[in-house]
């Protein structure tokens, strides 16, 4: 079990929410197979993700999905946001959390859409990731503590 704590001030209207650094790549087996035959992969970017219990899925910026060459599994996947219907693409990729001891998730469903005004983050970590974690918020210390309950 690994644990990671992040600061979040829910009383500050400008605070976007609990955020964590992440990295997204093609699924791990594919990268390992490529490395065995001598392919080199550039270091993945390390953007910021918002932890969002209101989202059933993990959603990243469409530009990031294309930059990281994720494996597309569905060109159209509709979700409904407060702004109305949104047509996403669906991918499978691997997520890791470089600034934390939380284990890498070797393959997971990831939706991708345009991020217009979300300047503070380029990923929403949804419940398909959160189901692997135990999350506790301490209002006094304003700390969100994540404990990974499994490595899968």
């Amino acid at each position: 079990m690994s644990t990671h704590s992040i600061r979040w001030n829910p009383f500050d209207p400008a605070d976007p929410g609990p955020c964590i650094k992440f990295s997204v790549t093609r699924f791990l087996d594919d990268i390992e197979a490529g490395q065995k035959v001598g392919l080199e992969y550039s270091a993945a970017p390390i953007p910021t993700a918002l932890i969002d219990t209101g989202s059933p899925f993990t959603i990243i910026n469409k530009v990031l999905a294309r930059t990281c060459n994720l494996h597309r599994t569905n060109p159209h996947f509709e979700i409904i946001t407060m702004g109305g219907p949104c047509d996403c693409e669906e991918f499978c990729g691997s997520l890791s959390f470089p600034d934390s001891p939380l284990p890498r998730i070797p393959e997971v469903r990831i939706l991708a859409r345009e991020f217009y005004k979300e300047t503070a983050y380029s990923c929403i970590i949804g419940r398909n990731i959160l189901k692997r974690w135990n999350i506790c918020f301490d209002g006094k210390s304003r700390l969100v503590t994540i404990t990974a309950t499994d490595s899968a």
Binding site: A33, S55, N74, P75, E78, I80, T81, E107
Partner: protein, 77 residues
């Protein structure tokens, strides 16, 4: 073959079989590349994806789609 709009052949194959699969595998995930369908159906997206990699490899995209009578509405708030 990759077409201008990705996975269009696979989506067509899915629609051709959808009524049959709704009766036999409602809620499961199916995996399709070109007109080739992985024989098993899966409870979880990740299991379906891994089966697709085993059958088709990782060089080209393949469709992973859940079988519903009507598409569910997923709210993100």
């Amino acid at each position: 073959m990759e077409t201008a709009t990705p996975l269009q052949t696979e989506l067509k194959v899915f629609e051709e079989h959808r009524q049959e699969w709704v009766r036999s595998h409602l809620g499961k995930f199916v995996v399709i590349q070109d007109r080739n369908v992985v024989q098993d159906f899966f409870d979880e997206f990740e299991d379906a994806f891994r089966a697709g990699i085993r059958k088709f490899g990782g060089d080209r995209d393949f469709l992973v789609k859940q079988i519903w009578k009507t598409q569910p509405v997923y709210f993100v708030v």
